[in-house]
């Protein structure tokens, strides 16, 4: 009923007619219904015929109604009982036919011949039970309804021969043949090659595996590996689909042996079109503890942001994956920007880093340096001075940045109130010395040195420091006395 719906459709059409028998499809429909075993519908159609009250019609309808149905073999009546009943009924049909009751109407005769299971009649009505497996079922229904599955092959040849002249056997037919012969492995093998989509064979093998129907040693790899192989194949075709990759992930999850490895490889190939998609794939990695992939996704997204000059967004990606190397690179980029332009960008991110700045030394330096600026702008000069010195002493600052830091000390030194104590001033002087000697050495080697402007700035600094020292000593001394 599910596969061969022509009969049902024709039946519905005819039932709407006033005089169904006038239509050409009338008898055709009845044949089809009978061949499908839809006796009740066939009876209804027959009873609509104008000549239904005649003897032959009545006999036929009676016969049809009395056809034994194998409704439920498990409840009570056994197969043997049904078989006996059926044979009785078939004999009756036979008798009726031989008594020539239906000789007037050839159509009725055909129906009875079908009921008797006569071989020849099936060839006559073969158009109504196309393709061969339909005829196979119909024949089996009327010739031997209790036929066992393994005996079906006796009928197959006959059915196929009936259609040999009109149609060729296709690949689907050979799969069906293998299925009828219960040759599971052949079915699997052929399904793989025949169907373009691996869905059928993957699920079929999976189901068979779970039912324990696959015999391990008959398969090349063993049943679970075979199943896995097919699932991997199918999942692979999904993963390359632009939107079904997410379904492929679920399939790979169920492949115990190789699923994870395959997933790791496939995930690297999914295009990261937008941040939202990247976030989704990241979650898939994080759920399965695939830290390598997660890190590489963050790296790709971060690099893309850097290329697009979105340093703030890049930083969020690197912080997320806790990528020390790249965080350092970014921090240096920020510092470079500052030393070139004198201004910070992306302040809204840097100022709110909080404990995340501890990821990398450079980043910590950046955060603290910003803090210094904030303290200075808020007028907290002492705290700012302390922080500046701490940054220099802790060697958190890269050497290139020392100049900037020292120059930053200048405004603090020039304040009327004393910011740096004598100890601190000495520290600053030490740093300055260290820096200048290093540069002098560097100059001898590479010819690099300070620019003129820088040299002037450093001279001013030296002056300021040397002025601050006695001031500091004096003040400290004075306090002590008091």
């Amino acid at each position: 009923k599910l596969h061969f719906i022509t009969a049902g459709r024709l039946f519905d059409d005819l039932m709407k007619e006033e005089q169904p028998e006038s239509k050409t499809t009338y008898w055709d429909t009845i044949f089809r219904l009978v061949l499908q075993g839809q006796i009740e519908k066939a009876c209804r159609l027959l009873s609509l015929h104008s000549a239904r009250q005649t003897d032959d019609f009545q006999t036929l309808i009676n016969l049809l109604k009395r056809m034994p149905q194998l409704s439920n073999v498990y409840k009570g009546s056994s197969v043997a009982e049904f078989d006996m009943k059926w044979r009785h009924w078939r004999d009756e049909c036979q008798r009726n036919y031989e008594e020539q009751k239906f000789s007037i109407n050839p159509n009725l005769e055909t129906v009875v011949r079908i009921l008797c299971g006569e071989d020849a009649v099936f060839s006559e009505v073969k158009d109504c039970c196309d393709p061969w497996y339909h005829m196979l079922i119909s024949k089996a229904l009327y010739q031997d309804p209790t036929v066992k599955a393994c005996d079906l092959h006796y009928y197959i040849q006959g059915c196929q021969d009936a259609y040999r002249s009109t149609t060729r056997l296709g690949e689907l037919d050979s799969i069906l043949l293998s299925a009828l012969e219960s040759d599971v492995y052949q079915v699997i093998k052929d399904s793989r090659t025949v169907f373009s989509n691996g869905w059928f064979v993957a699920h079929l093998t999976d189901l068979l595996h779970h039912c324990g129907q696959l015999d391990s040693h008959r398969l090349q790899f063993g049943s679970d590996l075979q199943r896995e192989f097919l699932l991997l194949e199918y999942a692979g075709s999904l993963m390359s689909h632009h939107s079904l990759w997410i379904v492929g992930v679920s399939y790979l999850d169920h492949c115990a042996e190789f699923g994870r490895k395959y997933l790791e490889l496939y995930l690297d190939h999914i295009p990261l079109d937008s941040e939202k998609k990247a976030n989704k794939i990241l979650k898939i990695c994080e759920d399965r503890n695939m830290t390598e992939q997660a890190k590489s996704i963050c790296k790709v997204m971060g690099m893309r942001c850097i290329r697009n000059k979105r340093l703030g967004a890049a930083l969020t990606w690197f912080l997320r994956s806790k990528d020390v190397g790249f965080a350092t690179v970014l921090a240096e980029k920020y510092l470079l920007e500052y030393s070139e332009s004198g201004e910070f960008t992306n302040l809204d991110l840097i100022d709110y880093l909080g404990p995340s700045m501890l990821l990398s030394n450079r980043l910590t330096f950046l955060g603290k340096y910003r803090e210094f600026h904030k303290l200075y702008s808020e007028g907290e000069y002492h705290a700012a001075g302390d922080l500046l010195l701490a940054l220099l002493q802790a060697r958190l600052a890269p050497k290139q940045f020392w100049i900037t830091l020292l120059i930053d000390a200048l405004p603090l030194l020039e304040k009327t109130e004393l910011i740096f104590s004598s100890q601190q001033t000495r520290e600053l002087m030490k740093c300055l010395e260290e820096l200048t000697t290093e540069y002098k050495l560097g100059k001898k080697r590479d010819g690099l040195g300070f620019t003129e402007a820088r040299k002037d700035q450093l001279d001013v600094l030296k002056l300021a420091l040397s002025r601050n020292l006695p001031k500091a000593i004096l003040q400290e001394g004075t306090v002590n006395l008091l």
Binding site: D273, A313, L349
Partner: protein, 380 residues
């Protein structure tokens, strides 16, 4: 006798990124029966209009059919749909991952939908395309934000943008919602909320709030329908945050919710005690705060016994009885042990990207290429 939750799953062969109810007409009291969906990750994405309604001749056993949406019309959309809103009753604005924003007009007479106008390349990285990540609408003003940290203010009636705020944010802006008529709040991937006043000439945010500590991205934001200073956010690690914008810079409460990023947070428009969240972990949660400490008084000037539930008997100065002190909104109450949280879908493994609620029907758009319609029992 509790009504059970009825739901219906409709497969639409496209992953849905956004789903939105048509706003109900002000004149009628009926709630809307039309909604629009936007898809993503497909070669050809579509904006589809659906109708969900009761037919005239309804029998008892056909009630389930009332939850099945029927497709009315659809239109092609270039790129993923990243934001979807109604502007008026027949015009839909959609933002795309190609950085453009388009207005679609629904022609009710012919049941078709076509592009009315398209703003191209609103968001870009120099010459490259950059996704527009979210949009918000208030009357005829549309605000969009993208991965380039730019915020663009458009008017549905003008061709060129009204205002472009370059560098509004140094990280990607993930969600936008209007607080008041000219005030917008955004959330970004560094876990910050920023409010912007569109009338002011300065491009800087008026207020910035964040959770101190780890930087976890925020993906969604919605404001309380009655009180615009209360805002709820959904974060990248599944935490629902409730914020009071008048107060300090940190959230009032952080509720651990989902196992993955919370893609959308929605307050119920008329019954604001109810909140809905949906997430990458495939769950949709319904947060019901109607039972939370109802008469929690803030001020300390009250003499007498503390507030009990319903009808406190304390001796209060007469001046207090008439709005002298406010009752703390249920969402802001520090004691939320009575908050009821229900998970609305079972057996869903693929992410839910978007939810929208209208009276009693909740719509969910998922990555399992389905629209889930859930009819909730009457809410308190």
């Amino acid at each position: 006798m509790a009504d059970s939750i009825q739901s219906f799953v409709k497969f639409v062969s496209r992953k849905i990124s956004k789903i939105k109810w048509q706003p109900s007409q002000k004149q009628t009291l009926e709630c809307s029966d039309t909604f629009v969906t936007g898809s993503w990750d497909d070669e050809k994405n579509k904006i589809c209009l659906w109708h969900l309604g009761m037919q005239e001749s309804m029998e008892r056993d056909e009630m389930d059919d009332a939850l099945e949406p029927a497709l009315k019309c659809e239109a092609d959309h270039n790129g993923d749909v990243t934001g979807l809103e109604y502007v008026g009753s027949d015009v839909i604005v959609a933002s795309s991952s190609t950085g453009s924003v388009a207005l679609y007009k629904h022609h009710t007479s012919s049941q078709t939908m076509g592009i009315q106008y398209k703003w191209q390349c609103l968001h870009s990285h120099g010459n490259h395309l950059c996704p527009c990540t979210c949009l918000a609408v208030r009357d005829k003003t549309i605000v969009t934000a993208g991965e380039d940290g730019k915020m663009v203010v458009l008017s549905a009636e003008q061709k060129s943008p009204q205002r472009i705020i370059e560098n509004a944010d140094s990280s990607t802006i993930n969600g936008l919602v209007f607080l008041r008529h000219t005030e917008v709040i955004s959330v970004n991937s560094s876990g910050q909320l920023k409010t912007y006043d569109l009338r002011s000439s300065s491009d800087a945010p008026a207020q910035t709030l964040s959770v101190s500590g780890e930087l976890t991205s925020l993906h969604s934001v919605d404001r309380h329908p009655g009180q615009p200073h209360i805002v709820a956010t959904g974060s990248g690690d599944g935490v629902l945050g409730i914020w009071d914008l008048r107060q300090e810079k940190s959230p009032v409460s952080l509720l651990e919710a989902h196992n993955g990023p919370v893609w959308e947070v929605k307050f119920h428009k008329t019954n604001s005690d109810h909140l809905f969240t949906c997430s990458e972990d495939g769950a949709v949660w319904h947060w019901d705060s109607s039972l939370v400490g109802a008469s929690h008084m803030v001020q300390t000037q009250i003499t007498g016994t503390g507030a009990g539930s319903g009808g406190a008997n304390f001796s209060v100065n007469p001046s207090f009885q008439f709005g002298g002190s406010e009752t703390l909104n249920k969402w802001l109450s520090p004691d939320n042990s009575k908050m009821e949280i229900n998970s609305l879908i079972d057996d869903n493994i693929l992410p839910v990207n978007s939810v929208d609620i209208e009276s009693q029907t909740l719509l969910c758009g998922t990555d399992s290429e389905s629209i889930i319609t859930i009819r909730l029992p009457s809410m308190r």
